[in-house]
Symmetry: C2
Subunit: 305 residues, 2 copies
């Protein structure tokens, strides 16, 4: 199953050859964790406690068209409300792993370092988005220089197949374990993967994802190229098609170089490239780095009718 990766004492190494990350997703453990997350080595069966069907999360919302409803596998996990008594959620959702001209995770190294802080001893690395998980995890242990992206459908299906969604939700929303995702790892942190850019190379039991926030993200968001002769839909047109479906949540288009920091009920746009916000039935709006997106974390915005 998921991989444990040793973090540098500072939480995130200054050397580009020893930085920690992946284009899938991480869960960082501030202190020693339970046995369920201590597993080393890939493809190992998940612990018994993770194997059952994930129970429906309290207050979980089900989205029309996103998958099977209310029965068995593929059940909705779309609630983003943390348990009232739990530690606040801490998420860093990055658009992309590599920015042209920079090293792997170079554009977000400072943010990841600040985010992890001094206490993180080990990182749980989830390598499901790439086909060769062992190689991916090995690279994650050593260095993160030249990894490509991952496939969101493959990552989400593996999370379902290993019954990990409910466990990750619990860890993040109730125990306050910090979560770092980039690209596919950012997609699966949101309500659903309905706004991924990836091809559906496998068929997950649902499109509903971790629901750590009550909206969707389109990573690698791309502005229309006015010089292009290509006639395929632009990214904005695709997101607008999504919003033609009823009860679809907001979509934050995170450009490469942008990331969203979520701490409890506060969300802030970081990075250098900005983001474009799509609310159902409204004109998209442009947002600069530093924008306070906390209003996206309230349920009233999550499913605009």
């Amino acid at each position: 199953m998921a991989q444990a990766v040793r973090a540098s004492p500072g939480g995130f190494s200054t050397s580009p050859h020893r930085s920690i990350g992946s284009s899938a997703s991480w869960l960082n453990r501030p202190e020693e964790s339970s046995a369920a997350w201590r597993t080393q080595g890939s493809r190992q069966a998940p612990p018994r406690s993770c194997r059952g069907r994930p129970p429906r999360a309290r207050g979980a919302a089900e989205l029309p068209g996103a998958g099977p409803r209310g029965r068995g596998r593929g059940r909705a996990l779309a609630s983003a409300r943390p348990a009232p008594m739990g530690a606040p959620r801490r998420l860093l959702l990055v658009s992309n792993s590599t920015l042209r001209g920079g090293g792997y995770l170079g554009h977000c190294e400072q943010q990841v370092r600040r985010f992890l802080g001094q206490k993180v001893k080990r990182v749980l690395f989830i390598p499901y988005a790439l086909h060769d998980r062992d190689a991916y995890a090995k690279t994650a242990r050593e260095k993160f220089e030249s990894l490509g992206g991952g496939n969101t459908f493959r990552l989400l299906k593996a999370l379902y197949d290993n019954s990990l969604l409910q466990e990750i939700r619990k860890r993040v929303l109730e125990d306050g374990i910090p979560y770092v995702g980039s690209s596919a790892g950012t997609n699966v942190a949101t309500v659903s993967i309905s706004t991924t850019n990836d091809m559906p190379i496998v068929y997950p039991p649902s499109l509903l994802a971790l629901g750590l926030v009550p909206f969707n993200i389109n990573p690698h968001y791309l502005d229309p190229d006015v010089n292009s002769t290509h006639m395929g839909e632009t990214r904005a047109e695709r997101i607008l098609q999504y919003h033609e479906e009823p009860n679809t949540p907001p979509v934050l288009g995170l450009r490469e170089g942008a990331m969203l920091l979520v701490e409890g009920d506060k969300a802030t746009l970081q990075g250098v490239t900005g983001a474009r916000l799509f609310l159902r039935g409204e004109k998209p709006t442009e947002h600069e780095p530093g924008t306070d997106f906390s209003f996206l974390l309230t349920d009233s915005n999550s499913q605009k009718p």
Copy 2:
């Protein structure tokens, strides 16, 4: 449900204002058809004969990861073998509806005209790929000048919801009714929609599609832009990720301006822009217009292990 559209006497009007087509898919009826296909007006319930679960097609192949297997909805319809006694299948699978600098369907008007011939009296138009079906069908009846594309997931889900897959397969593979698709309409004609470029805005019961041919197509195929700074996967990389999955069929990358003509067991690349062929485990190959792709229609090529 699907729309009946009147064709011009010549099968395809010479006037760009009266040409017939869509970015979804068409079924052309050479002569008067059965009542099942005579329905006018949109959103009408499909006839009784189409409503049941589609029985598994003879020789149908199921692909790992493409969806539920062997039970109920979402059942495999991946066989491309026509019934031995049936008329030969006739398909025209177009990459895109509009080519930059030309009118709607301008780049393939000659091919569609030749394909339909003199006998076609009416066209069954399937408007499911766009949200506003009535408007889409109305435009289809009048002219086809400025239609945008459609969403493949939405089209396939509507075909499943209306139990139309088996009926369309029968009409095309057994009765020889000609089929024209472009973009989303081309995707759903193949084994599965696993190589669509669209976002999964809805969740169909399976990724398996009509299976009118035993391979997949990537429409709007796009070569890597060497000047781009965007770090998202290239189209070729996405198709290679698909081929990391076991038993995945060939993928034909049809550039905008390209189309595939299938007549019985013969397949020919038409248009002006060529295509790139991806076989699992092999280096992609480039193909000029006029290429004979009949070898892709044989089962031995359909699922290279």
